[in-house]
Symmetry: D2
Subunit: 260 residues, 4 copies
């Protein structure tokens, strides 16, 4: 069954900056959707200016993997939407965070850190080379030992994230910096893949290898199954061991729990 | 130099529940402060009902390690205080979260997950045995292969936390459950130690080994030094490599940065 | 395409111990092969007493995932075979290590530690309960929140292994101990899954859930793809950056390298 | 009490290569010993050509932290000495592995992998810049956000090691490569710190910051205490729970165990 992917793109640079319009006349989100066509996903494109910021409960409930590109207007995304996206990730929805999405509310929420990093937007960009740290990782399928981007924005260490559960890519920059640029995290039942490349003024999402990484990332963070416990608060007044003490005398307020 | 420790205790059970008053006439926080006396810390005790919820900016700025016990009134802790505690942890303040503090706003904030777990408050408690998983870890100094608590509240798996950076203790319960009950995490420059035991109706903080673990935990999460970069947003218009492209043409809004 | 699984079973208990013959008349390996039938694997069964200890280079070269059960005669497995199995794992072959295989040469080789643990073989066994720590992990597909084994051998902490890359199960024992009983590791291009249950005198491999875990483990450690660099020694006299210094003046002895 | 540090240096380049003699007339090991003088260690220097390869049981038994530099003659180090060093690490001895020591038998033994990496010895070296990934880590005390080495040998990814327990440094190279160049691992009761810089033809160990990192690394991998269980095979015929089944009927061969 095809994975339901929602590509969320802030889509304001495309309205405000002539240079971004030239690079991505179809918008960044449109380019990502186009680049995912060779893969068997069921893709929906949404933006910040759509109804309910493009993040309705109904859409999120039907999204297996959410791909996030945002930059200048992170602050506009309503907190209650961030709350719900977080809940969906904890319930198992996959999340792929691209480039400047490192400062998106939802990413900072799931990391618990500032997600700050070093950065430089050189006038005409600079070379970035992404090295594969784990060549047999599913996200590295079809990828040579390194990818080279002729023009990129520098994102450098220290990158204020928790130690990743898996480090798949590390980037080298012409200006002398490095970045853990492909990182996997687990939160609740959900998986998250952060991928560094994608500045709005360089046509990075037209690179087939970059799109392959994103497609691999989508497949990787998609929840493998929905079995087992849902990580809710789990009152267990009856112990697993029959002979063990029980909780009978007083009752706490019921909280929602559900059998696995 | 002595570590400045602030013990924060919700301290409402002690006012509301006769049984808790009997177990901890000096309050839970008071018992913890007493138990830390053999160690060379500079300890301050604060509670939810103190001025500014016992969490003034000045106090937090002078706190090296914050110890947190809360339970029934997590929701009352003001969000702006949680914001500031989080910032202090990211800046290097250590945090020791005890027992029902797993559901404290600050812990959930730093984890990015629900921090739900299974639980049972058996009528007269049940046996818990904490196994040391890493015997040479600094937090296990002076601790035998396992600790036994005759009466405890069950906290069980699945515990919805990110995979810990270090797993130091795992608990066995009479009722048949298990818990990763001693877990270390890094967030920003700060370290966090979660330690499971400590239900309000059992005199667990009178156990010398338990207090030794907490004292070890305080020493472990205390920031080793304040050198290096402070993990702020770091604009670097000048590359480390002299010959590399610069950022000159346009200026982004200045963000605060500071040399290492 | 079906995964080529080789189930390797020491198969000496079955010859030496009447009680084991009664429990597993078809041998432990035979029972595992039978239990894997519902899954779409291409399974081969080998034992220590087979030609070349059942571990020919040809077989290993055609094995995607090796399942290992050994106990009393770990020492008989020839070191050169262990060398080759290790190389195959580093090259991407998956490895599932069962129960007393924790002391197999190949597991200790890949871990770098003693792999010691606590143990007790109670006269008629004791209850073990395996809790799922990560319910949405692929290995937990189809598995309820916990599995219960009425009769098991106790394997307990401290288990001298490197911190697992992923902890999927933790066991509770009737006698009061705990174990990290389902652990994933990556070594080179290969993945390893250690799974605790399976003492020779209890019919544990007749339990459908246990076999489901093993089948899930096989699928999980199977190499996702063979693309990218093979983790060989990689002389790079020509830098990735054209303008950077080269290695020309003297030549080191050539070592085997291969493009990704 | 002062940490007993043994600096082990292969010390053959110094005899065979005129250029190395010019760079390190006092030998590499001698330079490291000199560079450690400002720190309060009790340092012993040993080499491959010393009696018993400089690795007597008595010395190792009295070594808290072993610092290892080897390169061309890894193969000469006797396997039984490697066995004993491994045992000492598992028992709690710290190990600092420098530069080409990545291919030392003892490092490969403890990692379980090939420890291969990419490499280039540019004719007159090339620039390396080491970025601090975790600025508040004890090993980064006194270290600015990055260190710059004007002439270094390139060691690049993919580096075939298990995912480090802590990643402290990542290196950038002039030629376009990157490396996880400061990595911590735990094995048994012991800690290991791998640190990349130190090619024999560049005076890297005369750099004060480099020596500070090594000194910090020594302090960090030094065992915090010797309490608790020693990770031996632990037969427990008597369960922790009194009412639980015992092991009485038959006896396994006794294996050495020791109370915590």
């Amino acid at each position: 069954m095809s994975i339901n992917v929602t590509v969320w793109n802030e889509c304001r640079h495309e309205k405000e900056d002539e240079i971004v319009r030239q690079i991505y006349p179809e918008t960044i989100g449109g380019c990502i959707v186009e680049g995912l066509k060779p893969y068997d996903f069921n893709v929906t494109l949404k933006t910040l200016d759509d109804d309910q910021q493009g993040l309705t409960k109904e859409l999120l409930d039907n999204t297996d993997v959410l791909v996030w590109w945002g930059h200048r207007y992170h602050g506009e995304v309503a907190d209650e939407r961030v709350d719900y996206i977080q809940q969906r990730v904890l319930d198992g929805m996959g999340l792929v965070v691209l480039h400047s999405g490192h400062h998106a509310k939802i990413f900072k929420r799931l990391m618990g850190t500032s997600c700050n990093l070093a950065w430089r937007e050189a006038d005409d960009g600079e070379r970035e080379r992404l090295w594969v740290i784990q060549p047999s990782h599913p996200i590295a399928a079809g990828i040579p030992p390194y990818l080279e981007l002729p023009k990129s924005e520098m994102y450098g260490e220290p990158f204020d994230i928790p130690e990743p559960d898996e480090l798949v890519f590390t980037s080298w920059y012409q200006g002398g910096e490095v970045l853990r640029s492909g990182c996997c995290f687990k939160r609740g039942r959900g998986k998250i893949f952060f991928f560094g490349p994608g500045h709005e003024t360089f046509p990075i999402y037209r690179d087939e290898h970059i799109m392959r990484v994103i497609a691999n990332g989508i497949a990787y963070v998609n929840q493998a199954h929905t079995d087992g416990w849902c990580l809710q608060n789990w009152g267990r007044p009856e112990p697993a061991e029959n002979a063990a003490p029980r909780q009978t005398k007083f009752k706490k307020p019921r909280r929602r729990s559900k059998p696995g």
